[in-house]
């Protein structure tokens, strides 16, 4: 596995720009103004931090930004919010049921996502979808704790659990 610890010096530049831009955006969001001295300071700080962190990790080099990806990211966010609400309604059913009837268990699913960031997003999404929680990850396999076990077959479970997100995530993070 290409460890997340090892930055790839060759592609350092790419990660740097992405991260710096992200941080600068965050900075401007935080300050909520675009006064010139503030933005300049923000760019400086972002650049410094981005330099420091891209030397520490190669995660950011997998993140590329393009309009298509952004579009998919927004789509994914929408999808995600729907799923999150569903998950909560689902959860409310359990929580307010007079007797909680569940059959928990841990199943294994496989993911096609290759980039660490993508997998992270997938795992996070799964954690917020109805009745599932990622317990462990090992390579391409994710082990999911399900509140109400519907299948123990890996492929079927993959479709059920990861299905809603995987496509968008693949397009966003590769």
């Amino acid at each position: 596995m290409m460890g997340p610890n090892q930055p790839n010096p060759a592609s350092l530049g790419g990660g740097f720009i992405v991260l710096a831009a992200l941080l600068a955006v965050v900075w401007i969001f935080l300050n909520s103004t675009i006064a010139i001295e503030l933005v300049l300071t923000g760019v400086l700080i972002s650049a410094g931090l981005a330099y420091a962190f891209t030397r520490k990790t190669g995660v950011w080099q997998d993140v590329a930004v393009s309009p298509a990806r952004l579009y998919h990211f927004i789509l994914y966010t929408g999808r995600f919010l729907v799923e999150l609400t569903r998950a909560n309604v689902n959860m409310l059913r359990y929580v307010y049921a007079p007797r909680i009837k569940i059959a928990p268990g841990i199943v294994k699913i496989n993911t096609r996502l290759k980039t660490p960031v993508g997998r992270l997003a997938l795992a996070n999404s799964i954690a917020l979808t109805p009745g599932s929680l990622v317990v462990d990850i090992d390579g391409d396999s994710l082990f999911i704790h399900c509140l109400d076990l519907q299948t123990i077959d890996t492929d079927q479970a993959t479709r059920l659990i990861a299905g809603p997100f995987e496509e968008q995530l693949e397009k966003t993070f590769g």
Partner: protein, 229 residues
Amino acid sequence: MRRASIVFAITFFGLLFASVAINHTQSVSLWPLARSYVELVPRELGAPNVITGILLNYRAFDTLGEVAVLFMVAAGVGLVLGRQPNPTVADPPETARPSSEIVQIATRILAPLISVFAAYIIMNGHISAGGGFQGGAVLASCLILWLLADAQFQVDVKLLGLLESVAGVLFVLVGIAGLIFAGGFLDTRVLPLGQLGAFFSAGAIPILSLLLGIKVGCELSVILARFRA
């Protein structure tokens, strides 16, 4: 016997505290001194955040003192724990179960974001709630996260120590600048006050805040790193 005497002592302190609490009345207006601060800080120092103004100008000597406290603790923890090579030091990386990929990736993504947030807190200390200490603490929390996620992560204590020293020396130098160019030691009015509420304003307070943030962040990080070792 022993338990009873403890109970007795605590009861007594309870009574004492009760007498304090009963006789405490919520104040309806500020003490004259406090009121003067609220008026003085924006006017004289140009900082909207009165607390930061107090901390970094009027009571900057206190602040310098507490920086020294942290500095000493960083060194002191090193002295206490660094006496003999601890047999458990070398162990954790091999025996400890590495944290999952999810946590590791999340850490790597979050850490820069936390850092930029810390920078925001530090740099806005004079304008809004925040300041060097708070920002420094956030900065150090970033390191905690990293340490938790990655057992093998080696903190560059030397670099951090260097940074904190430089920041400390600069802090003192800014204080001396106040002595030479303004009203006295640690007077922050060595730089123009600027417009109230602007990013670059309030004299040297943002600079002190920045130095403080770096210093506190480094010191807390050094302390944490020493604890792990």
